[in-house]
């Protein structure tokens, strides 16, 4: 059995490397792939109004993929919560943390929160967006959870935020069905001035929603892990 599995794995790796090197060897195939990127680069600014071409691909051209990614993250967070639910017990009395750690974390948390919001809000202008911004906010929550034992963390609020964010992503996509082009996740809002915060139609709204969802999910994951015995 073990031999069989290892042979299958080895065959898979050989196939993988063969296709990888084959794709690199054939020049015409790589040129075609480059032309797709150049095409998107040349037209994304006019079509989507987003200064960051990567964001226009992630949110609009491949918006359905992003919805799937958010769903995968939701399922992972759900699995961790279910797995950790049986193990939640009373908190052990942890030794008092040092003064420097406490003060430093209190000083750091607002800055990290603000930086996360900045990354989310400027996702269509500069590198960044909903996913990294949400992760930065969740890490900020962890920094504050690490030191203060008396922190009140409302799990219900986090679930409500998460659910509302996920729902509004889908609703925003569905509204596009009634727009001029009748397609899911279509950019139905006006594009506005290029390279300003309030531009690019629904891209900032979708990234804000994704950011809220990711931040709520990951901070509740971190909190569930911290609470468990």
């Amino acid at each position: 059995m073990r031999k069989l599995v290892s042979i299958v794995l080895l065959a898979g790796f050989i196939f993988y490397f063969a296709t990888l090197t084959g794709g690199l060897m054939i020049p015409s195939a790589s040129n075609e792939r480059n032309s797709v990127g150049l095409d998107i680069l040349s037209r994304s600014a006019d079509e989507t109004g987003s200064a960051n071409a990567v964001t226009s691909v992630v949110v609009l051209y491949r918006g359905f993929d992003t919805l799937g990614e958010v769903t995968v993250l939701f399922l992972a967070a759900l699995g961790i919560s279910v797995f950790m639910k049986g193990t939640v017990g009373q908190r052990k009395k942890v030794l008092d943390q040092s003064f420097i750690l406490k003060t430093g974390s209190r000083l750091l948390f607002p800055l990290m929160f603000l930086f996360g919001i900045y990354i989310i809000a400027h996702g269509h202008l500069t590198p960044g967006g909903g996913f990294p911004g949400g992760v930065i906010i969740a890490t900020g929550f962890f920094v504050i959870l690490l030191t203060s034992e008396s922190v009140e963390f409302s799990k219900n609020l986090m679930s409500v935020l998460e659910g509302l964010a996920g729902l509004s992503f889908i609703v925003l996509g569905l509204v596009g069905l009634f727009g001029p082009d009748n397609s899911f996740l279509q950019n139905f809002l006006p594009l506005g001035d290029f390279n300003t915060v309030f531009s690019a139609g629904i891209i900032p709204i979708i990234y804000a929603v994704v950011g809220i969802k990711v931040a709520a999910e990951l901070s509740s994951v971190v909190f569930a892990m911290k609470e468990s015995k």
Binding site: F131, V135, V222, M225, S228
Partner: protein
């Protein structure tokens, strides 16, 4: 440019090999965040800042957080070779 990238890859390889030989699990986690940071610097140099930010936030920060909590909840030292 090529020399810089190969130097960074070399640093990453050395740290990656060091992870295997380090006895303390916490040090291994910290070294793995170093790998993530070097990867994000490489992404920055090959003109992919979006991926660099995501790699730095998830690979260096959040993964380390999850690992540190898991280590805190279980055992600190590697005990497999004692048994």
């Amino acid at each position: 440019m090529l020399y810089l990238l190969s130097f960074l890859v070399l640093v990453m390889l050395c740290v990656g090999i060091a992870i295997i030989f380090v006895k303390d699990i916490l040090s291994a986690v910290i070294l793995s965040t170093v790998v993530s940071l070097v990867v994000s610097i490489i992404f920055l140099f090959i003109a992919a800042p979006d991926v660099a930010i995501t790699e730095a936030a998830i690979g260096a920060a959040l993964t380390a957080v999850v690992f540190v909590i898991a280590i805190k909840r279980t055992e600190m030292k590697e005990t497999a070779d004692k048994e």
